[in-house]
């Protein structure tokens, strides 16, 4: 019989069995036994500077690899600080496992020091959560957590472990099976529905592909490309799906939605068959629902049955893993290609003609100026340096939208941003996770001056590990997106959006031991970015851009997506 092992060591045994390489975390009182065990563990622990960033870094790791990201925090404030990162992962279906310490089981409910009801607080922030008060249940809970996080629709799972469980001793026996009778995952897709979908697609005159984050999560980008080429339809990738189809693919017509391309939104409005793949009809994509894809029959593929019909009732619902369903759908299309292909050749050609015309009429315009750096210009330069290959993390706001519009991604898992929750302060810590996951990759953290200042403490983490992250601050001196809305919808009454007192980037980066500078002149922009990329270590580049630039096209809240505001009528001077 094996010798006795502590609960803390059992946790690490289980993580090793799950092939965890790295944990992002922050220690504290009740996790002392766990951190003591980590001292001897081959699993790398990265000490972040705030627990929220541990969750974001774990997400960055998960989003860049598809593996489960792991973060760790102590009880009470440690756990509550994780919450934003958990909800963020929930909204974007990102697989992470959070381990939190809890006060000794006998003290639960006594308002003990650093006690919080983590289990209760994170109920709605996670796909599932566990409170482990009994050592015998520990290995099962950890393996179940990884299973739940990584299968079906991925998501965050939290395991709250009491201090006495960490300290207790038991004979460790590896868990051989997981039995969650209520956890049903339907992956295959209904064969009859898939056949019907193929028929509907061949019969379509104006087919349109609407692909989302599910393509990335299911590792289905290859299948998506084959499918799109088979039916030769125009395709959009949502903010979460960018890179699902290569950014340079001829069928790719950019992102749809509130700040989507004109062609994407017009295409969505005029299509007769909308093929929705791993998407959830987010309000930022659909605009006013009654006017969304009004002529379309909808085929909706999603692994989560609750997403089907939640917003838009599809004509053909298909519950399944989008990778497997797309394989079958492409095969079904192939089978019937002989009799069906070319059925609507004339309409299809006209449809492509129309799409191209929309693209020509209103492309994304790379604004440039000789005396100021335009944000679009900045993004176009980053696109040039990336060549569709770099990992780009972003914060939330204007820079995120311009990044999505102008930077192309030729592979999945390159564009990493907080889509559903829209958490400011996401860009920098997620870049840490992504760079640890992909040391071979060039990683840009594109952040606004607002979000950057929410994550400044992590400059220390970056410096400690000499992570060569290129931090590009798109600095317009404002909370740009909020300012844009105040300008357009609140009579330009700019209330609490001006960010004065941005620190000197050279001194700031210098204080952490790496290089930084400001660039203001459009003529110097390219070389400044090239210098940043050439630098072997981290780099902080503060790019001063036009303060009053707005993101266009824009669908005003509650508007139909074909009613885009295409550009500024009159630039407003403050």
């Amino acid at each position: 019989m094996s010798s006795l092992t502590t609960g803390a060591k059992i946790v690490l045994e289980c993580l090793q069995r799950e092939k965890v390489e790295i944990i992002f975390g922050y220690p504290g009182g009740v996790t002392l036994p766990l951190y003591d065990a980590m001292y001897d563990s081959p699993i790398k622990h990265v000490l972040v500077r705030h627990e929220q960033n541990a969750a974001f870094a774990a997400q960055g790791y998960a989003r860049a690899t598809g593996k489960v990201g792991v973060c760790c925090a102590t009880s009470g404030p440690g756990a509550t600080n994780l919450v934003t990162g958990l909800v963020d992962a929930m909204m974007d279906s990102i697989p992470i496992v959070a381990l939190t310490g809890q006060v000794t089981s006998k003290l639960i409910g006594s308002d003990a020091f650093q006690e919080a009801d983590t289990f209760g607080i994170t109920r709605s922030a996670t796909k599932h959560n566990f409170l482990v008060k009994n050592l015998a249940e520990l290995p099962q809970a950890i393996h179940e957590a990884f299973h739940i996080a990584s299968t079906g629709r991925p998501g965050p799972v939290l395991v709250d472990i009491t201090k006495d469980v960490f300290q207790g001793q038991a004979h460790y026996a590896p868990v051989s099976t997981i039995h969650l009778p209520g956890y049903k995952v339907y992956t295959e897709g209904h064969a009859g529905q898939i056949r019907r979908a193929a028929q509907m697609i061949w019969e379509a005159k104006r087919p349109f592909v609407y692909a989302g984050g599910g393509i990335i999560a299911a590792d289905a980008s290859e299948e998506l490309r084959e499918f799109v080429e088979k039916i030769d339809a125009p395709a959009v990738c949502t903010l979460m799906g960018l890179g699902g189809l290569p950014g340079t693919h001829p069928n790719f017509i950019s992102m749809p939605g509130m700040h989507g391309s004109y062609a994407a939104n017009m295409g969505m409005t005029e299509t007769d068959v909308l093929i929705a793949l791993g998407v959830r009809f987010d309000d930022r994509v659909t605009g006013r629902l009654a006017a969304f894809a009004p002529h379309a029959k909808v085929i909706h593929v999603d692994i989560d049955p609750a997403e089907i019909g939640k917003i838009r009732t599809p004509e053909i619902p298909i519950v399944g893993d989008v990778k497997r369903v797309l394989k079958k759908l492409t095969a079904a299309l192939e089978e019937t290609a002989g009799e069906m292909k070319g059925k609507n050749a004339t309409s299809r050609a006209a449809w492509w003609g129309q799409i191209k015309e929309w693209q020509r009429e209103h492309p994304f315009v790379v604004e440039t100026s000789t005396d100021e750096i335009k944000p679009q210009h900045l993004m176009a330069e980053i696109d040039r340096l990336s060549g569709g290959e770099a990992i780009v993390t972003s914060d939330v706001g204007q820079h995120q939208m311009w990044g999505a519009q102008f930077i192309r991604f030729n592979h999945p898992r390159l564009w990493i941003n907080s889509g559903g929750l829209g958490s400011m302060g996401f860009g920098l810590p997620s870049a840490i996770g992504a760079q640890f996951a992909r040391p071979d990759k060039l990683v840009f953290a594109i952040v606004g001056d607002g979000g950057f200042q929410m994550s400044i403490p992590e400059l220390a983490t970056i410096a400690n590990h000499a992570l060569p992250v290129k931090i590009i601050v798109m600095n317009n001196g404002y909370l740009g997106m909020v300012r844009q809305w105040q300008e357009l919808f609140y009579n330009n009454r700019l209330s609490s959006v001006q960010l004065d007192g941005f620190p000197d980037p050279e001194k700031l980066a210098g204080a952490y031991g790496f290089k930084g500078r400001t660039v203001e002149s459009p003529r110097e922009l390219r070389s400044a970015l090239e210098d940043a990329v050439r630098e072997p270590g981290p780099y902080l580049l503060n790019v001063k851009v036009t303060p009053f630039e707005n993101v266009y096209p824009m669908v005003p809240a509650g508007g139909a997506i074909n009613e885009m505001v295409l550009g500024a009528v009159q630039p407003v001077e403050a």
Partner: protein, 186 residues
Amino acid sequence: MLQLISILMENKPGALMRVTGLLTARGYNIESLTVARTVDPQLSRMSIVVDIEPGEAGDKQRMQLIKQINKLINVLQASDLTESPAVRRELALVRVRSTMQNRTAILKEAEIFGARAVDSSVEGFVLEATGDSEKLDEFMDVMRSYGEIEVTRSGLVAVPLEAKKLKLAPPVSKEAEIESTDGVLK
């Protein structure tokens, strides 16, 4: 309109919170909720009545709610019994204050409703009544006419008349899962 949901779930700590939390988070109003363990002590049966707007929007809400509840890991099956053949029962305990003069009348009236006295004192009775919710409402109205009443209702419990096949997820081999995934999602 009222939607009646029957849930079979694992009898685990926090399972009830998951259901009620979900209802709150998704903006549903709970009319009543009962929960108790089943023949299998590891499982609980929950009956919930939720207030849903009538019409097409409500139908969509109802379907959505069942799907969301079914997503909970501890839930084995959630079914909508609103329009299914089912027996619905509620229990009420009613304390009626009565004068000496109307005691007999109260007992007679209770008999009509199939209710029985479970406690009797000089101040009045405690009556136990079961039935569907409308019948209990009427019973309350009648009792109120005799004097001050105090009521504790159980909330609706229901059993479907046709057994629905229970689909469960099979066990998963951890070894195989770790091997096949190499830590990467399928």
